[in-house]
Symmetry: C2
Subunit: 256 residues, 2 copies
């Protein structure tokens, strides 16, 4: 630590086996196929059952294998590609049927939120909550904060999801000057976990987006995506799909 | 699972405490500050030591707290912002002193790599390995695959890092037509772990980038960044730094 030299990192036995197994899965099995049982695998690779189980646990954790009771261990489906940055920059909610509004509240912001938005502590903020689904499965949640002064023409009477829709519509009338994003690893908080139907603490990719318009931050979105099933995609060359070359393809990562 | 309804997710006791602790840390302590010891914290929040320890373990795992022997538990430094997508799209290696070439090999590609690059199975591929450092600490690794036909004017004699530099220079003379990226969660493979000076299996953010030029994939990069210490940033509005509003700021994610 603290130096730039290359000290050898220890490679545990189960980890070596995990890598060997991963290559075997990549080359011999298709998605949804059942791999041989533990006894057969232990014999084939000449390892103890305990080591094998550790390697299988690791591959399950990585979303490469799925254990199904009464069936066995299957090769997991590849992660779902979730386009985060469309070809054209756009406001949230534009032409996107994947997102569903689940709530909207209006309140004075928490101090750090006011700071992040660059607004006075007493300016109301509209907070729209949305859920993103793919194939009937919730894969992402979003909290979108919009200062009242950015959307001054809201109908006063609309409440909750109706107000949420109004906030998005008002945003879409502004000229988007630019957006910046950060992606990092996080864990699902209670409300996010509930919407994703996963236990709190589930690993998520957290995407923070600032939308700029008229020389200010007009909206701030914090989205969380299930890290086990999602791959976020940004831009497209239009040549080929980025899909098959991610964390999954160790062959491409480690090929000499 | 499989429905879009909202079933309540269970919130374990330690998880609730973790969230309460996180808010206390955010509002009362600065980076590097030592928080009260376990006895004091357990008394303040009225919880058992075992529950408290579980919550502290979780916050350490999330990179929010750091335990230092003989000192105590400190508030961790925020994650390092790593700009992944510069304002202008560019070839890898352009004007970027953060990356250091650690090796270059030339060989026939593995079948999946040939497929991903859209080249014949027998076309040689140059593979440049690089390490990215921030403040003397390795934070990222990269494997950059470049088909020989994309860089036909390499000097034949250069080997290893010299050849790597030639590959990058040749790439930079091509006109970049576009790039597409995918970000997902992965684990450090043996060689990546060695370069990052972490144990194999360390969580990493895996960024796969396709560079297009002349109607083809001219380069394919797979980069891995330490998930505990890195936040990847994409584009800039130029208004404010995205930095302070990530996974760290639960206040902004959960504020009503």
């Amino acid at each position: 630590m603290g130096t730039t030299g290359h000290e050898p990192a220890p490679e545990p036995k189960y980890w070596h086996l995990r890598t060997v197994l991963l290559r075997a899965i990549d080359s011999e099995f298709a998605t949804g196929e059942v791999i041989p049982n533990e006894r057969e695998l232990a014999a084939r690779f000449g390892v103890a059952r305990a080591t094998l189980r550790q390697a299988l646990d690791q591959l399950e954790l990585e979303g490469r294998l799925v254990r199904r009771r009464g069936i066995g261990t299957l090769v997991a489906a590849p992660r779902t590609a979730v386009p985060v940055r469309p070809a054209e920059e756009s406001w949230p909610g534009t032409e996107d049927a994947a997102w569903r509004i689940v709530g909207c509240t209006t309140a004075a912001p928490a101090p750090k939120l006011a700071e992040a938005l660059g607004i006075p502590a007493d300016e109301p903020v509209h907070t729209v909550r949305r859920v993103r689904s793919t194939g009937g499965q919730a894969v992402g949640t979003e909290v979108l904060h919009v200062p009242d002064s950015a959307v001054p023409h809201l109908p006063g009477f609309a409440a909750d999801t109706g107000r949420g829709r109004s906030v998005l519509r008002q945003l879409q009338r502004l000229e988007l000057a630019g957006e910046s994003r950060a992606v990092e690893l996080g864990v699902a908080e209670a409300e996010e976990a509930r919407l994703l139907q996963r236990p709190p603490g589930t690993p998520v990719l957290v995407v923070t987006t600032q939308y700029a318009a008229g020389g200010r931050i007009a909206a701030l979105a914090v989205s969380t995506y299930r890290a086990d099933t999602c791959r976020l995609t940004f831009g497209e060359t239009g040549l080929v799909e980025v899909a098959p070359v991610g964390a999954a393809l160790s062959e491409v990562r480690t090929a000499s």
